[in-house]
Symmetry: C2
Subunit: 500 residues, 2 copies
């Protein structure tokens, strides 16, 4: 394995210099003694491949182990709810934090700081940091052996300085697959290469850096008018809540901050939102009309069109129009990621992992799936739930209670839950949808479904509800405190424009 | 030029689709009309090279122009003090913010947020954002033609999506060179490739990412003991204030946060500080002793040694010792950067740009130099001042007043200052040195020089002075507010450990 090859580089650690230092002053001597201690200990333990490269099956004196794949809304809500007295919790994910996605759009323009929307997993479930049998592994899942109750993983690496990735495996008593989804590009050429998605903190960071770079480059002498207009043309593809919220934040940033702080280029910057159908299709007609009016009023150009291709500096629409852009944000929906496709497990319509009424994956033991990556199998007769944070969170909460119940009933170990009464099945009740559309304006749609009757609101009061509702959902008090501080600072001092 | 070649890609922007849309609904029509407006305007203006690729000499009805190269302590203090009623201010720098360097070490471990130590230039001198003749250009200076009063520049680019860099020039009435310095590597092989410096915000970000990555990787099953120990061995080379402050912050992070949140690896993480001579050599003997004791107590290993070479996973010392490391921070001092070497201007001892008693560069007109990149020419009989923020800031302040005086006296234009009485020459008076050495401990040395007598303090009271003194120096109220909030949050909730 590459990892062991790497290690052989350290085999010859010398400790030859200590004898020469006998007469040196105590400070230097003690330091060298320590260095030689380091060297000696390393030399004493012969370099040989580690026998167990992973976590084996739990032993009778240990707690049963729940392995959670993923650290999104579903996985994190589950981990938060699991009882660490009943289970050891092992989380495998390529990021060590949860992203509070509803507020991510606000971080791109500096309304909120990046850290305010990232919640470390150790803060969500402290047992992961402190319990001897609970771990967080910065790794990707590469496969599941449901018969042997084992998950195969590979460490995440980046840059040239990190060790080569190495593989390991983790045995589970219960497995929860919460691997989420990936952005849909509909096979459109150039989207992956040139557009930025808006799902992770590093996406928001990239959008912010690009936006500020373009603002500054467009001010440099020698630039042509059309290049300036291109650099400052921000295009958002996809009129769902994320696309609309980002467009709103961006136009607000332009109206409030760019005009003051980039006075030389303020007339060149524009935002265009491209959507094939209607914007905010899940919302009430009246709210949609309101959103369209407000966005247009704040300078966002709404364009109905279908993107056919994306190049480094322009978008091609299906009617032949070419749209030059300097920043392209893509938020047209999500689909299952390749790892979900590759897993040899029952599937639901749409390629998601199939689950029964209790969120168990049928035909295998002790495997559950929640969040965007899962859907009810056809035999349940239930519809596929939308890929929403609300659904994922509710499923995580339900499954945490279910697993705690199983654990308390003595069914925590692998293959031991067959006789446990599972109780009520998972039922999703939609609480409503919210979206902000820029400065002090938001939509709140409290109907259970598109057809149902119910309350729907738009305007400043909705904005107040939007902020309050999300603030109460921010996981930690630390971040709740920071979000409020960020909002106040932005109100008083304007947005931060340093490009770091 | 590459930039104009790039632009030719946009020449054919089509607007053929509008006619088909006559019967569409008004929303769609208005949108397409706008898109075609964009396209048409671009097509109407024929693509031809811009005649003036830069800012020419100022005209009689315009204000004289001060061009400032660099946005460090010297340049920013100067811009803050310049009177925008007297001058147009043009700043050329590869970063759009000033870094509050004394607090940079605290950001690596999450005591402070990165944004709290970055101050956008537009906030330091608002005229740069709002005055029609004042600009900030995100660019590097590539040369100076002192006879023609022209600076040559090249735009900064990054990644594959940004336009190719383009060149432009800016004429000046007065030029201030404040380009700073670069870290010294003393020609040691491997330092540039493997070590991280600590001078910019992105350095602190890299240190933080590497530290958290190593903490997480070392927890993954299958890793050997020695690889774990290597990954978690943080080495700092250079025992000046930066190296000592970073070591202190790091050991504090380990003692307070790692033990709680990375309980599985807490016994493997170590900090070693390597210095060829004495640590904190500019401080009082008693303070040095105190610092040595405190650092050792908090787990920092102090090693006296000379680094001979650096490899990707170990440092070679001159006595043959090999020190494996996972994170290497290099802070051994600074020297002139290549652009300073390349400028055809008088030099001071050590390769810095030579200046006279009034910080003017002799033998050329209207050129000044301040901060780390400048030094007194030998004929002044004055010693080279240390490369300290304190010196740079004092010079910036002095020169701002001098330029304002020149401007008020009618000498603002190029070649017009010969008859102006310059007044008092620049005299540097050292106010003392400060350094923090971890949790609630700091050193304050208020002597004017190493030989002089004066007050020197160590301990909690010094820490209080250290925090208060720097807090008052943070430029904007926004960041002052944020620094306090960060300190309070860290005290209450511990440091933030999300790796974003």
């Amino acid at each position: 394995m590459a990892f062991f090859r790497n290690l052989s580089k350290f085999s010859a650690i010398k400790a030859s210099s200590t004898s020469r230092l006998r007469n040196a002053d105590p400070f230097v001597l003690s330091s060298f003694t320590w260095l030689s201690y380091l060297s000696t200990r390393i030399s004493d333990e012969k370099i040989e491949p580690v026998q167990c490269s992973g976590l084996g099956p739990t032993k009778p004196h240990e707690k049963p182990r729940v392995v959670v794949l993923g650290s999104g809304w579903a996985g994190c809500r589950l981990m938060k709810g699991l009882d660490p007295k009943l289970y050891d919790i092992v989380c495998v994910s390529p990021r060590n934090h949860m992203v509070f996605t509803p507020l991510l759009a606000s971080t791109c323009v500096g309304t909120l700081e990046f850290r305010s929307v990232a919640e470390p997993i150790g803060r969500i479930q402290p047992a992961i940091s402190t319990e001897p049998g609970s771990y967080f592994f910065l790794a990707n899942c590469t496969g599941i052996d449901a018969n042997k109750h084992v998950v195969h993983c590979e460490t995440v690496t980046e840059g040239i300085e990190t060790p080569e990735p190495w593989r390991f495996s983790v045995s589970y008593d219960k497995l929860v697959i919460a691997l989420g989804s990936q952005p849909s590009t509909f096979g459109i050429h150039g989207v992956k290469e040139h557009a930025i998605f808006l799902r992770e903190v590093y996406h928001a960071q990239e959008i912010r850096r690009r936006l500020l770079l373009n603002l500054m480059l467009s001010d440099v002498p020698g630039i042509t008018e059309e290049e300036k207009r291109r650099l400052l043309h921000c295009v958002v593809v996809g009129g769902g809540p994320t696309g609309v919220e980002f467009s709103g934040e961006l136009s607000d940033f332009i109206m409030r901050d760019v005009r003051q702080r980039y006075a030389h280029v303020k007339d060149y910057i524009h935002v265009t939102l491209i959507e094939a159908n209607e914007i905010l299709s899940s919302f009430d007609d009246r709210l949609r009309g309101y959103a369209t009016k407000q966005l247009t009023k704040s300078g966002v150009r709404l364009v109905r069109g279908i993107v056919k291709g994306v190049k480094a500096d322009k978008i091609l629409l299906d009617d032949g129009t070419e749209v030059p852009y300097g920043l392209l944000v893509w938020s047209t929906g999500v689909g299952p990621s390749p790892i979900i496709h590759s897993l040899d497990l029952p599937k639901a319509p749409g390629g998601r992992i199939g689950v029964d009424e209790w969120l168990r994956v049928p035909s295998v033991q002790d495997v559950f799936s929640i969040g965007d990556c899962s859907g009810f199998v056809e035999s349940t007769g239930k519809p596929t739930l939308p890929a929403l944070a609300q659904v994922a969170e509710r499923q995580g909460k339900y499954l945490a209670n279910l697993l705690n119940k199983i654990g308390n009933g003595g069914g925590g170990r692998a293959e031991c839950a067959k006789d446990i009464e599972l109780g009520e099945e998972f039922v999703y009740k939609h609480l409503g949808s919210m979206a902000t559309i820029g400065r002090f304006k938001a939509l709140v749609d409290l109907r259970e479904s598109k057809e149902a009757k119910g309350v729907s609101l738009a305007g400043f009061f909705s904005f107040f509800i939007w902020r309050s509702a999300y603030l109460t959902r921010v996981v930690s008090w630390r971040n709740r405190f920071y979000v409020v501080i960020n909002w106040v600072t932005t109100l008083v001092f304007g947005r931060d424009i340093s490009r770091i």
